[in-house]
């Protein structure tokens, strides 16, 4: 278990920027009026937006000297997001990382990191689970 990462405030423009970057066209990600009509308090983040919040926790892992992980040798193996509710602009989110599994496979290592993300009230929003493959020296 790692210490919680600093709180992340979800900005409307960040949601729009991320939505454009994943080639999204849904007005729920861009237009607060459309999001409001659908029952949300502001624009809704795309389903993979949680990776932005998770990033701070993965940075903690990669910066951990004991882990000895070379960033340029890391390949993403698997990813999952399990949501309790969608992320919306205005959310203040805090992510806490736990490394849940480390396996060695033919010279490579597989690390599974689980980031639990809660809102300002402490309620669960999403858990982001990454399996990273650290490729061995050739």
């Amino acid at each position: 278990m790692f210490a919680p990462a600093p709180a992340y405030l979800v900005g409307r423009e960040k949601v729009r920027e991320f939505a454009r970057a994943v080639h999204s066209t849904s007005p729920l990600h861009y237009d607060p009026a459309v999001a409001s009509a659908a029952g949300y308090s502001d624009v809704v983040a795309p389903p993979t937006f949680a990776v932005v919040v998770q990033e701070a926790t993965l940075a903690q892992l990669l910066a951990e000297p004991d882990a000895g992980i070379d960033f340029s040798r890391v390949v993403h193996g698997e990813q999952r997001f399990s949501y309790t509710r969608p992320i919306v602009a205005g959310d203040e989110l805090t992510a806490t990382l736990a490394v849940t599994s480390i396996k060695s496979l033919g010279g490579h290592s597989m690390v599974t990191a689980e980031s639990s993300i809660v809102d300002a009230s402490g309620a669960h929003v999403v858990t982001a689970i990454s399996t990273l493959v650290v490729r061995g020296e050739e």
């Binding site: 920027e17 454009r20 999204s24 459309v34 990033e55 340029s72 040798r73 999952r80």
Partner: protein, 131 residues
């Protein structure tokens, strides 16, 4: 809505610009996604799209199909093959979204995501919860 129904099919064109834009938006600045020399030095055939970019765009046809009728409550993928993005020609990624399971108030949508005639994501499953 029945199991096996194709609910959406979409083609995405990726360029190196897409990768730089995604790097900025996501905060993932791993140089294998924008520097050929670094990619080659770690044994890769060239610059690859971020797996998370492929994952992110692959779910968008489902989000568009769903509209305000519900939301994505779970989404998982395995990154099985890289998407190589050529400096001049880019890359074309095709997504087919098919109903896998229908439940009370929810469904599982299975994605087939192809690049260069091969699937690049495995077990790509989206759970949608209807409002």
């Amino acid at each position: 809505m029945r199991v096996g129904d194709v609910i959406a099919e979409q083609t995405f064109g990726l360029s190196r610009d897409s990768l730089v834009r995604y790097a900025g938006a996501s905060g993932d600045f791993n140089p294998i996604h924008y520097r050929d020399d670094v990619a080659l030095s770690v044994g890769l055939p060239g610059v690859l799209a971020h797996g998370m970019l492929t994952m992110g765009l692959a779910v968008q046809p489902v989000v568009d199909w769903l509209g305000d009728r519900g939301w994505v409550s779970d989404y998982q993928v395995r990154f099985t093959r890289p998407v190589l993005v050529h400096a001049a020609d880019g890359a074309t990624v095709t997504v087919i979204a098919k109903v896998g399971v229908v439940e009370e108030g929810a469904a599982r949508i299975d994605l087939t995501v192809m690049f260069g005639g091969e699937t690049v994501l495995g077990k790509a499953q989206v759970r949608v919860t209807f409002a």
